[in-house]
Amino acid sequence: MPRISHVGHTARWPRLFLHAAIAIICVAWSLPSLGLLISSFRPKNLIAISGWWEAFSTPFAFTLDNYAYVLSRGHMGLSFVNSLIIAIPSTVMPILIAAFAAYAFAWMRFPLKEPIFLVIVGLLVVPLQMTLIPILRLFNKFGLTGSFFGIWLAHTGYGLPFAIYLLRNFIQDLPGSILESAFLDGASHPQIFFSLIMPISVPAIASLAIFQFMWVWNDLLIALIYLGGKADVAPMTVTMSNMVNSYGGGWEYLTAAAFVSMALPMIVFFALQKYFVRGILAGSVKG
C-alpha cells in the first residue's frame, strides 16, 4: 500500500524547486558546524590566511595539534572531566528524588495534594534569575561556592519541578490494576516502586535523563555563578568562554575546543535521537 501523504497526487510544486529549496536550507544550516569541524584540524598558520572551504585545495595540510593543545594546556581535558562530574550526579539526583515524589503524587493520598502540585506546575517556568542572589549568599555562608556538591544541589533543585511534573503524569497514567495485584501479593510501596514502577517508566526516564543531562552539560550561567570562576572546577562552557576572552581570534584553539564540547551531545543525538527529541521538546518549557 502506498504511503498516504499530505501531498496531492499530481504534485503542483515543481519537484526540482522543492528539492533545491530543501538542499539550500540544509546546506545553510550545516555550513557553520562544518566550517568549525574542518578548521579545528587545520594548522594555525593556514587558518589565519585562508578560508576553511579552501582546506582541500592548496596547501593540503591537516593536524591534531589544536586538539592536543586545548586538551592539555587549554584545560579542556580537565574541563571535560569536570563537565562529566557536574552533569552525571546533576542528572541522577533530581530524577530519583522526583520519581519518589511523582509516585506519591500519583498513587498516595495526603492533604493539600492538589495545591502543592499546582505550585510545582507554576514553578516550571520561573526564571532562574530569581534565585541566583539568595542561593549564592546561602552557598557563601555554607562554603558551597566553587564546590561540585553545591552545583549538584542547585541543578537538582532547579530540575525537580519539571522532573516531578513529567514523571507524575507518566506514572499516573499507568493502569492501577497492576498496582492492586502487587499489593494483594503483599508487596510494599518500595518494592512496587523499584521493581515495578521504575522499570515500566524507562521511556519517560530516558527522555528526562537526556534532557536534564544536556541542560546541565550546556549550561553556562549556573556554573559561572556558583563555581566562582575557579579554573580547577570549571566545566567546558566556562573554560570556552574564558578562551574566547583571552584568544579572541585564535581560531585554531577555539574551533577545537568547541568541537570537544559538542562531541558528546552529538553522539547522544545520533544514538538516541527519538528520546533526545522527546526530551528536548518536553523540557523546553523549563525555567
Binding site: 499530505h6 536550507i25 566550517g35 578560508g51 495526603f110 517556568v125 534565585t131 533543585g157 528536548i280
Partner: protein
C-alpha cells in the same frame, strides 16, 4: 587524571542513589505495618520530603527573598521603595537593554516560527524528510557557548581588500560585487541582528519538529477533499493547514518567548553585551558581579518574572482544566 575526581564521580553515581533508595526502604521499615490514615500520610511525607525540601530551599525561599531584595539598596541594608524599578525604566542604558529584549522577542520569535513552519511544510513533501530534519535540529544539541564560537568564526572580519576567512563576509564579497566586508558584531547597526541569527539557527529545529508533528496530525481526507474540490496548494495552506496548526503554533510561540526572554549565553560569549547589545539577563549578571548592586539585580530578575507570570498562570489553568493529562 586525578584519582580523587574519579573517586568523587564514583561516589556520586553509586552512593547517592544507594543512599536515597536506602532512605525509602528505611522509612518503610520505620512505618512498619502502621495502617490507617496516619500511616498513609506519614508515608507520603517520607516520599515527598527530599523533593519538597530542595524545592523550598532552591526555588520558594530565593524567590521570596529576591522580591524583598528588589526594594532594598545596593548592599541590601535599607529599603528604597520603587527606586530600583524606576531606574530600570528610566536609565538610558537600561532602556537600550529593554529595547534589545524587545528586538529579540519580536524578530527571534517571528523568524524561528516562520522558518520552522516553512521547513516543516517543505520536508513533509520529500522522502528524505527524517534526514533533513535531523540536520536542522542538530544545533539544539550543542551549547550556546559552542554556537557562539561557531558564529564568531562565521562573522570573522578582515578589513576590505584583505583575505576574508569568515564565511559570511567571504560569501558576500564573492557574490555581491562592490560589497564592503562588515564587522557584523561590532557595527551597531548589525550586531543585534547578528546575535539574533544565532538564536534562530539554534531554535528553528525545535519549532520545526513540533509544527511538523502538528502537520502530520491533520487528517489526510480533509486535504484530499479540498483537492478534489479544485483547491490549489496555496489555498489549502491558507484555509486549512494554517488554521488547524494555530493551537500548535501558539504552544511553540509561548515556549520561544519564555526562552528568548532569558537569553544570556550567546550574548555573553559573542559580545559580552558591549556596543549596545546587552539584554536583561546579561545586565543582571553585571549588576551582580561587576557593580555588586544586589537591589538593582533583584529588580531586574523580578521584571523578568513579571513578564513570564501570564505563562505561569496559563500553565496552571490548563493543568486544572486538563486534570491528569495536562
Amino acid at each position: 587524571m586525578r584519582m580523587n575526581t574519579i573517586l568523587l564521580l564514583a561516589i556520586s553515581v553509586v552512593a547517592v542513589p544507594l543512599l536515597l533508595s536506602g532512605y525509602i526502604f528505611l522509612s518503610e521499615r520505620l512505618l512498619g505495618k502502621r495502617a490507617g490514615r496516619r500511616g498513609t500520610r506519614l508515608r507520603a511525607l517520607f516520599w515527598l520530603a527530599p523533593a519538597l525540601f530542595l524545592i523550598v530551599v532552591f526555588l520558594v525561599y530565593p524567590i521570596a527573598t529576591t522580591l524583598l531584595l528588589s526594594i532594598k539598596d545596593a548592599s541590601s541594608q535599607s529599603y528604597v521603595g520603587a527606586k530600583n524599578y524606576i531606574h530600570i525604566f528610566t536609565d538610558r542604558n537600561m532602556l537600550i537593554v529593554l529595547r534589545n529584549n524587545l528586538l529579540w522577542l519580536l524578530f527571534f520569535t517571528l523568524a524561528t516560527l516562520t522558518l520552522g513552519l516553512l521547513i516543516a511544510l517543505l520536508a513533509d513533501r520529500v522522502k528524505y524528510e527524517a534526514a533533513a530534519k535531523a540536520l536542522i535540529f542538530l544545533p539544539m544539541a550543542i551549547s550556546f557557548v559552542a554556537a557562539g564560537i561557531i558564529w564568531r568564526f562565521m562573522y570573522d572580519f578582515q578589513p576590505a581588500g584583505m583575505k576574508q576567512i569568515g564565511t559570511v563576509n567571504a560569501l558576500l564579497t564573492a557574490i555581491a560585487p562592490g560589497f564592503q566586508p562588515k564587522a557584523w558584531l561590532f557595527d551597531t547597526g548589525t550586531n543585534n541582528g547578528a546575535l539574533i541569527v544565532v538564536g534562530v539557527w539554534m531554535w528553528t529545529g525545535f519549532a520545526m519538529v513540533i509544527l511538523s508533528a502538528g502537520l502530520k496530525g491533520i487528517p489526510v481526507e480533509l486535504l484530499e477533499a479540498a483537492r478534489i474540490d479544485g483547491a490549489n496548494e496555496f489555498q489549502i495552506l491558507r484555509r486549512i493547514t494554517l488554521p488547524l496548526l494555530a493551537p500548535t503554533t501558539t504552544v511553540v510561540a509561548t515556549t520561544l518567548i519564555i526562552n528568548v526572554l532569558k537569553v544570556f549565553d550567546v550574548v555573553y560569549v559573542m559580545t559580552n553585551g558591549n556596543l549596545g547589545t546587552e539584554v536583561i539577563a546579561n545586565r543582571m549578571y553585571k549588576e551582580m558581579f561587576n557593580y555588586h548592586n544586589f537591589g538593582r539585580a533583584s529588580a531586574i530578575a523580578v521584571v523578568l518574572l513579571v513578564v513570564i507570570v501570564p505563562v505561569m498562570v496559563l500553565n496552571v489553568k490548563r493543568f486544572r482544566q486538563g486534570g491528569s493529562n495536562a
